[in-house]
């Protein structure tokens, strides 16, 4: 099957093939970098206990190694955690100052709500006001695991209560302060929340860093715990999968430098879907008008050129337009008319899901128009004449023959629109994206889809995590992971549209001959 390249076009063919190969290589390299840097973060790396020349002891995860700048030798970066004890979490150590290193099985890593990770030894677990004395290592560890599981169940209930019961009740009371039934329910729910909070507090672990400093860690601030050096490959894989799952399913913590990105995934997908829903009818109608209805003259061509040029307008300009027209113009007017009792706090007069989707719909409108128009123009004239010759009017011809045949072209437009819109961040910063909006814009409360709410977006989340955290170094793996996720989300959205297009194309088997 191997075909030799024709000799005459040899160099050109190789040049072209080389360009393709280079593009693929770059794309593959990009994905690989994101995957390794991003997903590697969730792997429970082994913890090394190192002893230095001067007798100091340190425990941490080796991250990378670089040659020393001023003398021969190399230095190694360790992630040592314990921000509350040391004030920082990174240590650069010259390799030749390390006199001994080992990986003791008893070292634990705790993921905490505050101060980040703890790396050291676990001495005991118990009631925090009871005197804590050292327990055996196994007893302390099994105790910790059991308590953490208990706590997680309590925390789940607590969060659910706050999200599904408390918040809706408060909203209802805001609207009608004299609702006594709601007030009653609120009091009951509050009591239960306090109960849960009490049950969650009160327990602590006695920890010791490798150089002997002790601290008492309240357990309700501990999210996960593992003993990386004692774990088998299978257990590590399990912990990795759990870490990835938490990243996908939980909300962010610590000013977006830790935790998950679920609200951002949801916000991105929802916004793109809304955008597609808004842009498709407008784009298709505009293309139909330009191609089928309008007199094909100089003016139509001028409009066509203008539409094509709109695709080149920088996205931030659309953001400014959205802010001025949608948010302040239309949103402000809506507030004046329908939500005046809530003023001066705006309802639609501030950035939100609807305005962001509309702005992006506007941004992608030219793409959909151009793609649909090209599809309409490609439909053979015989198809139209065939319908007309059967006594169909122009409208009937359009609806029954031309538009169904143009569906794949419309979907091509939507695919291009999604690809452009899902990665767009700049305009969103003006019209509705939020640094932190842990509540997704869909819930069980009427009207279920809250178009006025601000939302999180993966693209903005990347920007925020990378530049606005207090420890960019520690958040960097999350930036890679989020970037990988953004690529995946766009890929999935695009594949869905491509699958749909394939379905519509293949429904009638063979393509008509031109």
């Amino acid at each position: 099957m191997s075909r030799r390249l024709p000799r005459t076009e040899g160099p050109w063919a190789w040049l072209a093939a080389g360009s393709v190969a280079l593009s693929l290589l770059l794309l593959g390299g990009l994905l690989l970098l994101l995957a390794v840097r991003g997903l590697g973060h969730f792997w429970p790396a082994s913890v090394t206990l190192v002893e230095l020349e001067d007798g100091r002891l340190l425990a941490g995860q080796a991250v990378r190694e670089l040659p020393l700048k001023h003398r021969a030798g190399r230095e190694r970066l360790y992630f040592t955690g314990n921000r509350d004890l040391d004030g920082h979490v990174w240590h650069w150590l010259p390799v030749d100052t390390i006199v001994a290193s080992e990986r003791p099985a008893e070292l634990v890593v705790l993921e905490r709500r505050r101060h980040g990770a703890f790396i050291g030894r676990l001495l005991a677990v118990g009631e925090s006001d009871a005197l804590l004395s050292a327990q055996s290592r196994e007893a302390a560890w099994t105790g910790l695991e059991a308590r953490l599981a208990e706590l997680e169940a309590l925390r789940d209930e607590h969060d659910r209560l706050r999200r599904d019961v408390l918040r809706p009740l408060i909203r209802r009371l805001d609207a009608r302060p004299d609702d006594t039934a709601a007030r009653q329910a609120l009091a009951e729910a509050n009591a239960r929340v306090r109960e849960l909070q009490q049950a969650m507090g009160g327990q602590a672990a006695l920890l010791e860093s490798v150089d002997g400093r002790r601290l008492v860690q309240p357990l309700d601030e501990v999210l996960r715990a593992w003993q990386p050096n004692a774990m088998s490959l299978g257990e590590k894989s399990g912990a990795w999968a759990q870490g990835v799952w938490r990243f996908l399913s939980e909300g962010p913590r610590d000013g977006n430098t830790a935790g998950g990105v679920w609200p951002a995934i949801f916000g991105t997908v929802l916004m793109v879907l809304l955008m597609s829903l808004l842009v498709t009818p407008f784009g298709v109608l505009a293309a139909v008008y330009l191609n089928e209805v309008a007199h094909q003259g100089r003016l139509t061509n001028l409009v066509r050129i203008a539409v094509r040029n709109l695709a080149g307008v920088p996205s931030i300009v659309y953001g400014v337009f959205g802010l001025g027209v949608f948010v302040y113009g239309i949103g402000g007017t809506l507030d004046d008319w329908f939500f005046s009792d809530a003023l001066p706090s705006p309802t639609f007069g501030t950035g939100g899901l609807l305005w962001a989707s509309l702005t992006l719909a506007l941004l992608t409108l030219p793409v959909v128009i151009v793609a649909t128009e090209e599809g309409l123009a490609r439909i053979p004239v015989q198809q139209r004449e065939g319908a007309l010759a059967l006594g169909a009017t122009r409208l009937e011809t359009l609806i029954r023959v031309v538009l169904p045949m143009a569906v794949p072209a419309m979907l091509t437009g939507v695919i291009l629109a999604v690809a452009r819109a899902a990665g767009e961040v700049a305009p969103l910063m003006l019209v509705g994206v939020a640094k932190l909006a842990p509540q997704i814009p869909v819930d069980g409360e009427f009207p279920f889809l809250h178009l006025d709410r601000k939302f999180m977006h993966l693209g903005y989340h990347i920007f925020d995590t990378a530049f606005h955290g207090n420890d960019v170094q520690a958040a960097l793996p999350l930036v890679y992971a989020t970037a990988l996720l953004l690529v995946m989300v766009i890929l999935v959205l695009n594949l869905t549209a491509i699958f749909l297009r394939h379905y519509f194309r293949s429904r009638h088997g063979v393509q008509p001959r031109p």
């Binding site: 059967l390 006594g391 009937e396 088997g509």
Partner: protein, 278 residues
């Protein structure tokens, strides 16, 4: 406004005419009367002062070299040129004595009476059944049962029924080129036109499919009037009863096919049909 057609029973319109050849057919037997028609594309003349009568229930062929205006004339008969703003024409075309360009004539109604089959088969991207039912659905008001009957009748008239009766729901694009062309003919027949215009219906097909289409054309003339545009003189000779020879937008000779092919009265006709000029 679309005019409502009087209800009619299936096939009632298609009374076969009396057998026997008409050399100088009387005016009451003519379906189309074309009177002094000229046409120009954007100021460039394409047809000049054409006058001819098309006999009812016969096959009339328009032949002539490329660009002679035969397709243009054909498309004038169901007003497909209406779409093109650059086309201007003069003269009168009467269908059963009625001017087809009269303001009270609804163009969609006219096109239902005057069906058309194109050079390239153009089935719609739908199932075989839906293709045939397309024109019927536009009219509406048919029961499911009646629609099934008409679709079957149309496919049988187009000699396609036996080949597709087991896969009416399959895509029309899965048929071969010849089958597609017969499907398009069935689709036209389903709305029961009085005239069927055929614009080189077999030129994109293989010889066997061509043969089938020609048989079909001959069999259909008992039901309706057919006007055939063709490049292929053998085809015109095989299937048509009358032949019009056009050249440079002018009608050169119009006669019964036998006469035109065996004893043309003009030198230019003879040159063309004997292949000395193409």
């Amino acid at each position: 406004m679309r005019r409502k057609r009087p209800p009619m029973t299936l096939l009632s319109r298609f009374q076969p005419s009396a057998p026997g050849s008409i050399i100088d057919f009387d005016p009451t037997a003519s379906c189309f009367e074309i009177e002094g028609v000229s046409l120009a594309y954007g100021g460039k003349p394409a047809l000049r002062d054409i006058t001819l009568r098309v006999p009812r229930h016969r096959v009339t062929a328009f032949i002539g070299p490329s660009g002679c205006g035969k397709s243009t004339l054909l498309r004038l008969l169901n007003r497909l040129h209406d779409l093109n703003e650059e086309v201007g024409h003069s003269g009168r075309i009467l269908l059963e004595g009625e001017d087809i360009h009269a303001p009270e004539v609804a163009v969609d109604e006219l096109r239902r009476r005057v069906g058309m089959v194109f050079q390239v088969p153009n089935p719609f991207p739908m199932s075989i059944y839906e293709n045939v039912a397309f024109g019927l659905r536009l009219q509406g008001g048919l029961t499911r049962r009646r629609m099934d009957d008409i679709v079957e009748w149309a496919l049988q008239s187009a000699a396609l029924w036996d080949e597709v009766k087991d896969r009416l729901r399959a895509s029309a694009w899965s048929l071969s080129g010849g089958q597609q062309q017969r499907l398009v003919i069935a689709r036209s027949l389903a709305v029961r036109p009085e005239v069927l215009l055929l614009d080189e219906p077999a030129s994109a097909l293989d010889p066997i499919s061509t043969l089938k289409i020609e048989e079909l054309i001959r069999s259909l003339k008992s039901q309706l009037t057919l006007i055939l545009v063709t490049h292929n003189m053998q085809q015109a000779a095989r299937v048509s009863d009358y032949t019009a020879f056009l050249q440079d937008g002018q009608l050169v000779e119009y006669a019964p096919t036998d006469t035109l092919f065996t004893n043309p009265s003009l030198r230019s006709t003879e040159n063309y049909i004997t292949g000395r000029m193409a």
